[in-house]
């Protein structure tokens, strides 16, 4: 660590010291440390809380270097790009550029700072290639585009520094994979460039440190600087006087208390987990907003201009509160926020810490946050999260390797830039942290995929996209391929969004656009259904092309179909803490009385789930038989488990009718007495929960799973197998449409080992199906199933039982449903006849 008193003279040149002094500031220790590391030529990870001057710390070395640069002679070649700044958010790049301009101007530095995003006019983008600024602020997608052009080398040859902002938010995602590959190429072009990573606190900084330097097989790491974390957050759980509900996610019972909190603070950010919750809470708050506080709504489905208006109003301090989703987890700092309310369970401690950090950006004062559990299980989860945050414990990142579909996109991009040698490119790609363990065979498959689809049946040689030249290097087959690449770049595959347009009173056309919803949400609705959107109850009228036409309605109680509960599944880390809390009654003192009573009753009537065991209860209720298991592994893993268990029970002749899963438990119900079957030895729970269900059962189910098909579609788009605007997503009338589901079916049957199916399976392991977590759980509980046959529903089972009937039927039951629909319509037809004969009704 540098000596702060002695260092500034040496590290910080005169204009900088004057500038700090002029504002009554002193450079922070971590800012100086970063300067020292830069001088020593080392890449560095800085971990610092919001408000710690993290961004300035990242740029100081660049500004110091640029300030000391000799003035170029007229005859000399203009200097190329000096510093590249990459942020996950376009808005953040623009904001940081603005914040950087000011000190640069005030210090009189001759530094050119520019941004480059999707919004930058083509003319300026052209000019930036020819005559680059000193500092360019941009996004991962723009980097990929710049690197895929033939002038990438001259553009980046002089690069000295790369600043990666919010690195924790990018690493571990496909967007991060793409960025890591871009970094590898940047380092190949400019080997002397240093990288600075800026990150919030993470459980495993070493992964991020490896990101910053080329990997050569020894886990090479950049330096680490950890800033003073500042005052500990003031964090509490709302101890509602009202009855805490058994199930649900609306937190309606705490509404008045939330409003009270808003009233008592200057500006409050109210975080919820899903867009639907945001809509509902926003509406409920306005119902009781007697003081007419300016309360706004912000989530990813709202029209962009509306979101920007809310953000601007927030920046100007004109709002009292904003109800928002993870759409505001990251972003521009707003000084005025003095309270964060997190409604619903936080799902993970890292996400919670990130959100808490959005309040009070002054380091010396604690951030204030209140957790509002929406149901009893969430009380436990909030308590566990609270303890985790106080202990500074973070969720550990999910272990994953770089995605093959992203690699496919990158390899094509590299061919667009300049012909590549496969050995050299493999060495470059494996220098990127996510791809350090990439197998050569996988790499070769990816190259083969780009060449001719990579199919074992070599039918497409003549349609190749990249071809081998005589010297063995690969080049693009024709300019159209490069064009296709540019249109397809990026890893964000939006599910198809439909505009929501208000139908005007006169015609059904021409009203205002309220925002966008995902196609799958609309798919579950029929005309006449009502739903909440943009803070209003709307009636679904019809679909015209890519628009949902809606009307305002007087209905008070919307029917909210397809309600998915919390969007993020409970983290493994938090789940373990919840289990620990449950199994230690001595720690229940911190819980609200009614929750304590609930757990006491469970202890009396049944048992408490053990720390390492799996509690399974079976009981009859309402003419059906139920099996409830409590794995605490999150909704996604439970859904997959539910699908697989129902298949097995069905095969065992136990006729399951369906299942329901939440973040904590899962219930399967049917017409056969499962307690009896277990007692008679016809059903073995050990066999039922055996990990071998992840073999054939899983494969069989994946064949049909809509989630798997969605996962495949994303891989196919990212890898460039199909274009983003593949027919089937752009539905004009009179046009026969084809979907990627058909491609998936054919490929799965004829070439199950294809590289894209491997990519999709790898995604399924951690993504929507969470198979890896399920597999870990099944291994953990082997031989540790704690079964109880009960005469009635247990207290702990009530929350998940209440969710039955909301959705979801046994897997593969589509045909049964069709038969039912057919019968239903037949009955309806018969009834209509009866009615006609009874004119009195």
């Amino acid at each position: 660590m540098p000596d702060i008193d002695a260092a500034p003279d040496d590290l910080l040149p005169e204009p900088f010291r004057r500038w700090f002094a002029g504002r009554g500031w002193a450079p922070r220790a971590h800012q100086l440390e970063l300067l020292a590391q830069a001088r020593a030529g080392r890449s560095t990870l800085l971990i610092a809380p919001t408000g710690a001057g993290k961004t300035l710390a990242g740029f100081l070395p660049s500004l110091v270097e640029l300030a000391g640069r000799p003035v170029p002679r007229n005859s000399a070649r203009p200097p190329g790009l000096h510093t590249l700044y990459i942020s996950p958010l376009k808005a953040l790049a623009v904001d940081v550029a603005r914040n950087l301009e000011r000190p640069a101007q005030e210090m009189g530095l001759a530094v050119r700072i520019e941004t480059r995003t999707g919004d930058t006019p083509a003319s300026r983008r052209q000019r930036q290639r020819r005559d680059p600024p000193d500092i360019l602020l941009t996004t991962p997608e723009q980097i990929a585009l710049l690197l895929a052009s033939d002038d990438a080398e001259p553009l980046f040859a002089d690069l000295k520094r790369i600043v990666l902002d919010e690195l924790h938010a990018l690493a571990g995602s496909k967007r991060g994979d793409l960025l890591s590959l871009g970094l590898a190429r940047l380092r190949a072009i400019a080997p002397m460039a240093q990288t600075v990573g800026l990150s919030a606190t993470v459980a495993d900084p070493d992964t991020l440190r490896r990101w910053l330097v080329p990997q050569r097989g020894n886990g090479e790491m950049g330096e680490l600087v950890i800033a003073d974390p500042g005052a500990a957050p003031d964090l509490s759980m709302l101890d509602s006087a009202a009855h805490v509900p058994w199930a649900g996610h609306t937190a309606r019972h705490s509404l008045k208390e939330i409003y009270g909190l808003i009233e008592r603070h200057t500006t409050t950010l109210v975080f919820v987990n899903t867009r639907m919750q945001a809509e509902l809470l926003f509406q409920e708050l306005w119902h009781i907003n007697d003081a007419n506080f300016p309360i706004a709504l912000h989530h990813g489905s709202l029209d962009v201009s509306q979101r920007r208006r809310v953000e601007a109003a927030m920046g100007e301090g004109r709002l009292k509160a904003v109800v928002c989703t993870s759409s505001l987890d990251l972003g521009i700092d707003w000084g005025a926020v003095d309270l964060v309310v997190n409604v619903g369970a936080p799902k993970g401690s890292s996400r919670l810490m990130q959100r808490i950090g959005r309040a009070n950006h002054r380091l010396d004062e604690p951030s204030r946050a209140v957790l509002v559990p929406a149901n009893r299980f969430e009380v436990l989860e909030c308590r566990a999260a609270l303890e985790a945050v106080r202990a500074g414990a973070q969720d550990s990142a999910v272990v994953r390797s770089g995605a093959l579909d992203v690699l496919a996109q990158h390899v094509l991009g590299m061919a667009c830039a300049t012909p590549f040698d496969a050995d050299e490119l493999f060495a470059e790609v494996t220098s990127a942290e996510p791809y350090a363990d990439l197998l050569r065979a996988d790499f070769d498959d990816v190259v083969g995929f780009n060449a001719n689809g990579g199919y074992a049946l070599r039918a497409y040689e003549r349609f190749a996209r990249i071809r081998r030249m005589k010297d063995g290097r690969w080049r693009v087959a024709n300019p159209q391929v490069a064009q296709q690449y540019r249109l397809n770049v990026g890893t964000i595959v939006e599910s198809t969004m439909l505009k929501v347009r208000l139908a005007s009173a006169k015609s059904r056309f021409g009203g205002r656009v309220l925002g966008e919803v995902e196609e799958y949400f609309v798919e579950t609705m029929s005309p006449g259904d009502t739903f909440v959107f943009a803070g209003e109850v709307l009636e679904y009228l019809t679909i015209v092309e890519n628009e949902v036409r809606v009307a305002r309605t007087s209905a008070k109680e919307p029917r909210v179909p397809s309600y998915a509960g919390g969007k993020f599944p409970l983290s493994t880390f938090l789940a373990a803490r919840v289990r620990a809390l449950l199994s230690e009654p001595a720690r229940w003192a911190s819980l609200p009385g009614q929750v304590r009573d609930w757990l006491e009753l469970q202890k009396l009537r049944s048992r408490l789930p053990g720390r390492e065991d799996l509690l399974v209860e079976t009981f009859p209720r309402g003419g059906r038989y139920h099996l409830v298991a409590y794995p605490f592994e999150g909704r996604l893993a439970h859904q997959t488990l539910g699908m697989l268990l129902t298949r097995r029970l069905d095969r065992a002749g136990l006729h399951p009718l369906g299942f329901m899963a939440n973040d904590y438990a899962l219930v399967i119900y049917g017409v056969s007495d499962m307690s009896l079957a277990i007692a008679q030895g016809r059903l073995s729970l050990d066999a039922l929960f055996d990990a071998d269900m992840l073999g054939d059962d899983l494969e069989e189910w994946l064949a049909e799973s809509a989630l798997m098909k969605r996962t495949f579609r994303q891989c196919a788009v990212i890898a460039g197998l199909i274009e983003r605007r593949f027919p089937g997503k752009e539905k004009n009338s009179r046009q026969v449409t084809m979907s990627t589901d058909l491609v998936y079916d054919v490929l799965r049957r004829h070439e199950p080992g294809h590289v894209l199916l491997r990519a999709a399976r790898a995604d399924a392991a951690t993504g929507l199906l969470d198979i890896r977590r399920l597999s870990d759980m099944l291994t953990r509980i082997r031989g540790r199933i704690d079964h109880l046959a009960l005469s009635r529903v247990s207290p702990l089972a009530v929350p998940v039982m209440l969710e039955i009937g909301r959705e979801m039927v046994a897997g593969g039951a589509s045909d049964a449903l069709l038969a039912e629909a057919e019968d239903e319509l037949i009955r309806e037809a018969m009834r209509a006849g009866d009615d006609d004969s009874e004119p009195g009704r």
Binding site: T524, L818, A821
Partner: protein, 240 residues
Amino acid sequence: MPATMTASPADERTGESEIELAGARLVLDPAGALWWPAERALIVADLHLEKGSAFAARGVPLPPYDSRATLALLERLVARWAPRTLIALGDSFHDRGGAGRLGDEERASLAALARGREMVWIAGNHDPEPMPGLAGLHAGELKLGPLTLRHEPAALAEDGEVAGHFHPVARLVLRGRSLRRRCFATDGARLVLPALGAYAGGLNIRDAALAGLFGGAFDAHLVGAARTYRIAHHACLPDR
């Protein structure tokens, strides 16, 4: 209004449904083909063979197994019904060059299918001309007993017309789940077959182009694992 029409599981073992069209008794195979017992004719529509390679030529290398998958299904259907006549209702190939791009295995499979039976290729908009080197007859349309077999339904409704072209699919929402399946569409006077091709895709029966074929009410017979399911058109939903 639909004329006299019955749709009942004709045979519990195999589970196909029977309908009557212009006096002809027809069986709806749940794989999406039509069996005409009196003529021992198996009728299929819109195979779109070599659609994958047609896309590959445009830089979209879809898996090259679609012809193989479609022909395998056709082989199963032929094994099941042992037809005397096999009729493909047009768009059998995705484009004019389709037959030329067939692999050896697929070519052999087509030859085997035509062996020992009459094979009729009806012209479609994708394959208006006879394909070189293909066994069987080529026809613009075919009148057989009370039925007229053609690719695209005629503008003026005609009793006993059996056609393809539109790739009908029906969508239902059942217990919050959206279900989209290929289907036969019929009002008892004309019948539109679902597409059999692995990459053929589909058009919703509520789309004006398809619904407009039928003057009023019609039924969708959705294909299922073991049988077809009859649902009135008004109970089906438009896409999305």
